[in-house]
Subunit: 346 residues, 4 copies
């Protein structure tokens, strides 16, 4: 049994990791930390865990955590992660970091969107943990930067088009929508039930959301040239789910059927990407609680634009599920182990 | 007191008309029809009306309806409207039709998206009832084609840009989102609570939604040239509200502040359009139950695209409220009469 | 025009007062205060007010507020209200207080459920502002203690039974359910969207909710004897609405039809109480945004229990609407003025 | 591998069975039927199953179904179940029936609440499948009548009190609340999103809900005397979950701590019943998607009433999960097999 620690377990990503790891036959959770709730049973914070998790939440003392675990999931805010990850690595532990701290190849990009990086030398060895893009690099990695939720959904939706060079990369517009759990569990008026319920709105309009450089980094690598996109996130009154509607001008003469075939072939064999039949498009409701990315694609023949719709559960394929998938790859477990749960519907 | 009839009152638009007309000091509702519920008190179908509406629902017999009313709101499905409107007109009544039947200038366009038109000769005299675009024509009209909800929201958001010629009209992409009441009150599995709740999805992907030709007709008139756009609607798990996020390449060198100023000046004096300050964007929650269209605008300077976000309540400014606004114009009442209710929040 | 102040306007009750007062033809809002947002336009805090409220939020300086207004609505937390109300009264102003501070006849009761009362001598002159119970006393009052939301809903539902003496008052059980706006607008994890959405739970179980003594005070007065009830509130994942399901053993041999008739006669002439026909029961959806209390009643003949179901909008009849109704009575306006809006459905 | 059939798979219970059975290591789903969708892939009806269920929906031909399966889950409406179950039994198959057809001991009771029973002779051999009440009888049963959702929640909440004789059974009032999936997947206006959303209402008021006799049958058996209760169900705007708030007069002098201890001891060792610590009460959110029944209990010392709050997921412990639990018992699998998933939160 692999001993794993969940560092930063009082947020929604933390509890989702605990839910998924509970169903993983090769893993035991040996340490769970939370600064704000240290000393309390984790099942008191999250009553869903009652009767199944007896652990107490501990303070985050990196050396003690490392002593208890073989692999560590850091579900901390950015900056907090890079304060502890180097210790874990030095002590020989493997790390899947769910913050933004190890997602960028270029420290300058990180620093222009976030803040000064405390250990930029680690960026070279960290692997961007999107298995459907770079599975082979994840397997041997000691440090994986688990992708953001919007980037996961967007990159998987655009990858076949960009890799095959069938779109004009200067015309990409991504209109994305997220459920509220993406905003975290902090006590803010903006995220109160009555503020969010029965309303729909954009945020980060004008190319200012921090997931934008992450998306552009990966699309540029896939395209082999610098890609710059427009990206607008919106808030949907629901708990979970991200759906991205992506637009680009076709650079090739492809019919809807051609595109569905192209996507189907591209993702053949991927256990967690489902390309929908022509004329079908995804709903976040159909991936709720599951590790799938569902993708539908078509052409607006009147305007020559391809439209890709991709959907994930932001807490699963967009966070905790993908982290477990990365762990499976790193540890030689079957990639789908612990992740074969179907979506909860309704 | 003006006597008005609401024809087709067992849908959401019908009950919204009754709600608004109840608060209108110059109007009395003299006739309410519903084929499926004829003979029952309207307050039995919609208990919100209890104690305030004593009327019984009647069968739709056009001549009898016309005898009872000076002005008739037809809240019928398309086709059903054009079967009765000519009778109303012949009997000298004024009509605000909330279906699609009288929104198009060109019968061929209507017929390619809907079905054969029964009285295409009326299209020439019908006025597209978007007061912020063609107020002067509405005033004397006998027949007003009340705009669709998506077109209202989209056209108001794009009008200043198109009129001022500051965008490249070949680059317009409209990503729109609607609450569920837009799907009507028919008994369909697709619109059941458990099918819709906690999910977000697109529909009509690929340029096939019937509101598309309506938007293009009006934008083309505003631009003075044929405009073709990409339009993708989505379904949001909430009762009311439409939000359109529109993208286009700027054809002029304008800053976000320039654009906010342009919009502010364009809509100065409009009682129901609120241009938000720079950096603010609308939420459907802030127009719920009110007749406003809220608009925010900015530039994605990295890509040279303008982004306009516009929001309305689909049942108010997108249907019943706009119909009352049109009635006010047609009858010489103050334009805001009966429409000064603020949004219900939360 | 009556000049009114809204003191404590950054909560949900405050904004609801502003919404309703906007539609009141005899009132002008001359002062709006908020400690936390002083100096900012009120429409910045609540964008629903944009274009209709130009006021800036002010600090709460009681003398200055009193100078500006004839009547003052205090929408403050308990304790904060009793710190300023005496000043308003001394300066000759009339006050409708929406906190709990002036709802109790007996300071000892207040103090055992809340805290030491700062001006218990005012309790004798304050009138419990439930018009359907004590309209005549409200008319001349200088100080009205506006009832709590649960008490309003519960007392209106039980009043006919208790007044007519047809139930055994020792058997009353009230199972009540509230939307989330009742929990206020404070930044608490418990009220975050993701904590509340898609869940249903009780709180204050075991007779510990602060609205309990308020309900018992009024029922005891109506019964002419001490009444003690069981009261359990629950939280419903919706913005607005309270529904109380009340149970008691019948002390008289009454059929469902008898009870519907009894209720109908009891509330005949009441503009805001709607007694539903036999076999019909209320939904909070049908009073959303309106000042009605809808009531349905029947008998469980197998067990001899009467069941009353009553529903209100907690922010309207349960708070701001009732406050305006009280103002109307105090100032000689028609009781329904500004309150004739129908519920927003859907 | 046990071959199982799911008969009636196009409803919410059917798809929940398929979700749970997918995660069961000893079971293979060999047949899935649906009259209305026969011939279509089940994953087309429920896209959550895409990539994991290749089956086509079949017509319900009882003999063919029996040939394909060892154990059959009938997820049909009442009446439809008793038309096919005898054939399954005659062919030696074991059956877990999720309808009401085999829940009653007394055909007369069934017939007074439902309709004439087609095979009343089977009622004697059918076992009421509530493992926490009669586990030993379920193990050898050929036919299990899977309990209703309200009865499961209510009986588990009241069992310790009734068995220990610590309440007056003539005073039991159950105020129950359910999410919308309990209403099924039929295309009815009443269950449309906009009819249900943002509203809360009772239904079946006055002791007329069909789950009432089922609850009374079981409580009477537990009490050893005829028990008659008041039962009022309500509809909550959420997908899943049932919460029952039950009231009764204590017949013994027990403190809250005594009661929590009594419940804890009573359910010690039960894998799916979680008795909460004193002062804690359940939320449906904490059992969403899981097979738990969470129970909190206290005393209203002022009135001498015990209050029990119990919560389940109506589709899991209230239907499909309990059915799998019964199958596990019948087939000698570990009772929790395939049911160890934790609740999805948020």
């Amino acid at each position: 049994m692999l001993k794993v620690a969940v560092v930063g377990a009082s947020g929604y990503t933390g509890v989702e990791l605990l839910r998924l790891l509970h169903g993983h036959p090769e893993v035991t959770v040996s340490c769970v930390t939370s600064e704000q709730n240290a000393g309390r049973p984790v099942a008191e914070i999250f009553p869903t865990l009652r009767g199944r998790y007896a652990q107490q939440l501990e303070n985050l003392e990196p050396v003690r955590v490392a002593e208890k675990a073989d692999l560590i999931f850091t579900a901390l805010p950015h900056k907090a992660a890079m304060e502890v990850v180097p210790t874990f690595l030095k002590l020989g532990k493997r790390v899947v970091d769910l913050s933004a701290d190890y997602r960028f190849n270029d420290a300058a990009v990180y620093e222009s969107w976030y803040e000064p990086h405390l250990n930029p030398e680690l960026l070279g060895q960290a692997v961007y943990g999107l298995p459907e893009v770079r599975r082979a690099e994840i397997v041997p990695a000691q440090l994986v930067g688990n992708p953001g939720c919007y980037p996961t959904c967007t990159i998987l939706g655009l990858q076949p088009l960009v890799r095959q060079g069938v779109i004009d990369p200067t015309t990409v517009i991504v209109d994305a929508k997220s459920g509220v759990s993406g905003a975290g569990r902090g006590a803010k008026v903006d995220n109160l039930y009555c503020e969010v319920n029965e309303g729909f709105k954009p945020y980060g309009v004008g190319g200012v959301h921090r997931h934008l450089p992450e998306i552009e980094q990966e699309l540029s690598l896939l395209a082999g040239e610098q890609v710059m996109i427009s990206f607008t996130p919106h808030l949907v009154p629901m708990d979970r789910g991200i759906l991205a509607t992506s637009y680009a001008r076709l650079a090739a003469d492809l019919s809807p059927a051609d595109l569905v075939r192209l996507f189907g072939e591209f993702y053949a064999g991927e256990p967690f990407v489902r390309v929908l039949p022509q004329g079908s498009f995804p709903s976040t409701a159909h991936v709720r609680g599951a590790n799938f990315c569902d993708i539908g694609v078509t052409v607006d023949t009147r305007t020559g634009r391809v439209i890709v719709v991709s959907a994930i559960d932001n807490l699963v394929k967009g966070a905790a599920g993908q982290a477990v998938q990365n762990m499976n790859l790193m540890c030689g477990f079957p990639e789908t182990m612990g992740l074969d749960g179907l979506a909860l519907f309704p």
